[in-house]
């Protein structure tokens, strides 16, 4: 079937070795008019160098305040099939494992009731069902819940869909059950996920180790990152094998030839604290100086492994630039054991949210609120004691807010006595 819209510019994007979204959409467009109009609209944007979507109205499924992004195009005259083109965010299973069975069913539902297009996956982690009309929202939701056992993810001023790295499912370094933690948060806080109650959005992400394969530290209001407290496990035999060139360094990430590892240059000199020594036979690590950066383990995966006393470092506050500038998450709890039923963690989360809900302004992320009121207030609220691990460096300005409780007599002064000692 010939397509309605000419798309000469987009057609340029069917060329080249990388898979083409245009080619993919085109094949569906032959049977789905939404896709045809979407291509037409996009071609217009390529011509105008301007987008053609308007602000979303408030659309959604009954009883939920999030999970659907309303979207209307600003040229319904030309592209009536995408006049309404809302996305639905479907909460992905942790670590994004699927059976083909569930995927095929999802495709069937979405081919019938939506555009047949996805983002697999959205940046937060959801499966994004890209484009449908308001009247299809409830039917799709019904099918998702009934046929797939799936639910919507977050949007708006609520908890967003948590996500995690592959962790123990397929990685030897994970210090956490990343999926289980993610699932626990998601299930425990379903209400917070679906019904806006916060000053703004709130994101959790869980990485099994400091490599942080889900980029938690850069983009989660609460970043949970696996780590350990004991010593790196060393297989000296394997270290020698790397040095002898019998094993490929970095699991092949830097090339596949067998070559003797220059352990001094490639491992020891790259260790941020230089806390290792190789005497030609054995590798010594001063674990008390190790900051668990993972580098040595990354380079010699068959010789070194994280310790066994594992848990998480909890950091908070990461976000994108709006409003006060981007933030990375900051260490709040250097180490927390993360074992079901995760009570200590829940308690922390709930205290944190209470404080944020009490003090946060509209559209103020947790990180910004901490900036505004100070880390000290936050620590007080969550009942955590100051620890040098929370900071890179102590303050260097002398503008200290001393606590009146620590000062003899508090803030009281005796002006009369003062003026007896000092004439004006």
């Amino acid at each position: 079937m010939a397509l309605k819209h000419q798309t000469p510019m987009l057609d340029e994007l069917t060329k080249g070795p990388w898979p083409s979204f245009v080619a993919d959409i085109k094949r569906v467009a032959e049977r789905k008019p939404q896709c045809d109009d979407l291509l037409g609209l996009l071609e217009l944007s390529y011509k105008d160098k301007e987008g053609h979507w308007k602000h979303g109205g408030i659309v959604g499924v009954f009883g939920y305040g999030g999970g659907v992004i309303g979207r209307y195009c600003d040229r319904p005259d030309l592209f009536p099939n995408v006049a309404h083109f809302h996305t639905m965010r479907v909460n992905q299973p942790a670590s994004k494992f699927y059976t083909t069975d569930v995927l095929r069913k999802l495709c069937d539902i979405w081919e019938e009731k939506g555009s047949g297009l996805f983002n697999f996956h959205g940046s937060t982690g959801d499966i994004i069902l890209l484009g449908t009309t308001t009247d299809q929202l409830e039917p799709v939701f019904y099918d998702l819940t009934h046929e797939l056992g799936m639910d919507l993810g977050g949007s708006g001023s609520n908890m967003r869909t948590p996500s995690c790295c592959v962790g123990r499912a397929r990685c030897e370094w994970s210090c956490l059950d990343t999926q289980d933690i993610t699932y626990d948060i998601t299930m425990r806080y379903q209400d917070e996920l679906h019904r806006p109650m916060f000053p703004y959005k709130f994101k959790f992400k869980v990485s099994g180790c400091p490599n942080d394969c889900v980029a938690a530290i850069a983009r989660a209001d609460c970043s949970i990152i696996g780590t350990w407290r004991d010593n790196i496990r060393i297989d000296q035999e394997a270290v020698r094998a790397y040095v002898a060139g019998e094993l490929v360094p970095n699991g092949g990430a830097h090339g596949f030839e067998k070559r003797p590892l220059d352990i001094q240059a490639e491992v020891i000199d790259k260790c941020p604290t230089r806390c290792m020594k190789w005497d030609g036979k054995n590798l010594k690590i001063w674990d008390e100086d190790c900051v668990r950066c993972m580098h040595c383990i990354n380079v010699m995966p068959r010789a070194l492994r994280p310790g066994e006393d594992v848990g998480a470092t909890i950091l908070v506050g990461a976000k994108a630039p709006i409003l006060e500038g981007a933030q990375l998450s900051s260490v709040i709890i250097p180490f927390m054991k993360m074992e079901p039923p995760y009570e200590e963690f829940h308690e922390f989360v709930e205290k944190m949210w209470d404080w944020w809900m009490e003090h946060g302004k509209n559209r103020e992320r947790l990180g910004e609120l901490i900036q505004r009121l100070g880390l000290r207030e936050f620590l007080k609220a969550v009942g955590v004691k100051p620890d040098p691990r929370m900071i890179n460096t102590p303050r260097y300005n002398p503008y200290i807010f001393y606590d009146p409780a620590d000062v003899p007599g508090g803030w009281e002064r005796d002006p009369v006595a003062y003026r007896q000692r000092h004439q004006p």
């Binding site: 070795p17 898979p19 993919d24 301007e50 670590s95 940046s123 397929r170 850069a218």
Partner: protein
């Protein structure tokens, strides 16, 4: 029971959450959960993980355009059914991983993937350019300054050889966001492609009071450039706002709050490139990306100037950095003065920070290179 549009509460299921993760774990993953001992990348895009139990799991990673159709997903399912017992996963950067527990199926899987045209490129592991994390662009969002998928396609076409090989000094994470909201971890990427507006919004005074909450609009501006204002048009008075253009840095946040302040502009909008961010804690702590190229115009459909600028940065890095050095580590070693010299990028006033923490970026030492 099918959905009944007349009684949406019937049989309604809510707050069921996602399926429990292990429902979709392949048996080998269930069995070896938490028991993996080490891994090896045996060729670009192909990993083996070896368990303490002796089990071996092969993962074949393929690049995707992320924006995909039901047809595409069904094709993925066909492949997974054939070689992977019906299991498949996606990575955190929108690649697909086909998991094979039976080694004999590995090579046939690879051959099959290669036989399907350009749909399933194998790669993205190790010291490569893996998939570009990106956002909606002109395909769906209302605030973009640029498209997303189109630019990603053009860049990946050009960098394709680096996707399926391990010849870079370290992994290179490229990301794209179509506006300053920066959906994705764009602000901490080795190379970030960012859509930027460059003209202040114009104000549709007749509409403002109807479609916007003026106090929220005012509060939305990070630089306090917006003030309330009464405007008279044709004898009618409107509650509206005024914008101090000199204080506007084009973030678009006011437009997010108020559709009567359009900011997109075909002539003004375009792309800024950022470099040297990272997320991992490996070797050096996570870092933000820093401004490399303040502005490149939108050049649809293939954005050749952007593509070449990204390539130039990547290849300068590739030829100059030491093994394991991420782009940011490389620049920290050689110094920004050398970065600009080696890449030939002009250093301009836009590079010098003038926002809140600006003074922490100034050079307060005589240490620099000629």
């Amino acid at each position: 029971m099918p959905f009944d549009p007349k009684d949406i509460m019937k049989d309604r299921l809510t707050d069921i959450g996602p399926p429990k993760y292990d429902k979709f774990f392949p048996p080998i993953v269930k069995k070896n959960y938490g028991k993996w001992k080490y891994h090896e990348i045996i060729q670009p895009g192909v990993l083996v993980h070896v368990s303490e139990t002796g089990d071996e799991l092969y993962s074949v990673r393929v690049g995707t355009p992320r924006l995909v159709s039901v047809d595409y997903i069904r094709e993925v399912c066909d492949i997974a059914d054939k070689y992977c017992d019906g299991y498949v996963r996606w990575t955190t950067r929108n690649n697909i991983e086909f998991l094979v527990s039976d080694k004999s199926k590995l090579q046939p899987l690879i051959d099959d993937l290669k036989s399907r045209g350009n749909w399933f490129p194998i790669g993205g592991t190790g010291a490569s350019v893996t998939n570009i994390v990106h956002t909606q662009g002109w395909v769906h969002c209302h605030t973009p300054a640029i498209d997303a998928s189109g630019i990603v396609k053009a860049v990946m076409d050009e960098l394709f050889e680096y996707f399926g090989s391990h010849k870079l000094p370290a992994q290179v994470r490229i990301s794209l966001a179509c506006c300053l909201n920066m959906c994705g971890a764009v602000h901490c990427s080795d190379i970030a492609i960012l859509g930027v507006h460059r003209k202040p919004p114009f104000i549709e005074h007749e509409r403002v009071q109807n479609v916007c909450e003026i106090p929220l609009v005012i509060a939305a501006c990070p630089t306090a450039a917006i003030k309330p204002k009464k405007v008279e048009i044709d004898g009618k008075e409107y509650k509206s706002v005024e914008i101090n253009n000199a204080r506007c840095m084009f973030c678009g946040n006011c437009y997010t709050m108020c559709p009567a302040l359009p900011i997109a502009d075909g002539d003004g909008d375009g792309i800024a490139l950022w470099v040297g961010g990272k997320v991992s804690n490996s070797r050096v702590p996570p870092m933000f990306s820093k401004l490399a190229v303040p502005y490149i115009p939108n050049e649809p459909p293939r954005w050749p100037t952007v593509v070449q600028a990204v390539k130039k940065i990547l290849e300068t890095y590739a030829s100059d950095a030491r093994r394991y050095e991420r782009i940011g580590e490389w620049i920290n070693r050689i110094g920004w003065e050398k970065f600009f010299e080696k890449t030939g990028i002009e250093f301009r006033h836009e590079h010098i920070d003038d926002y809140r923490l600006a003074m922490t970026t100034w050079r307060t030492t005589t240490q620099f290179k000629w």
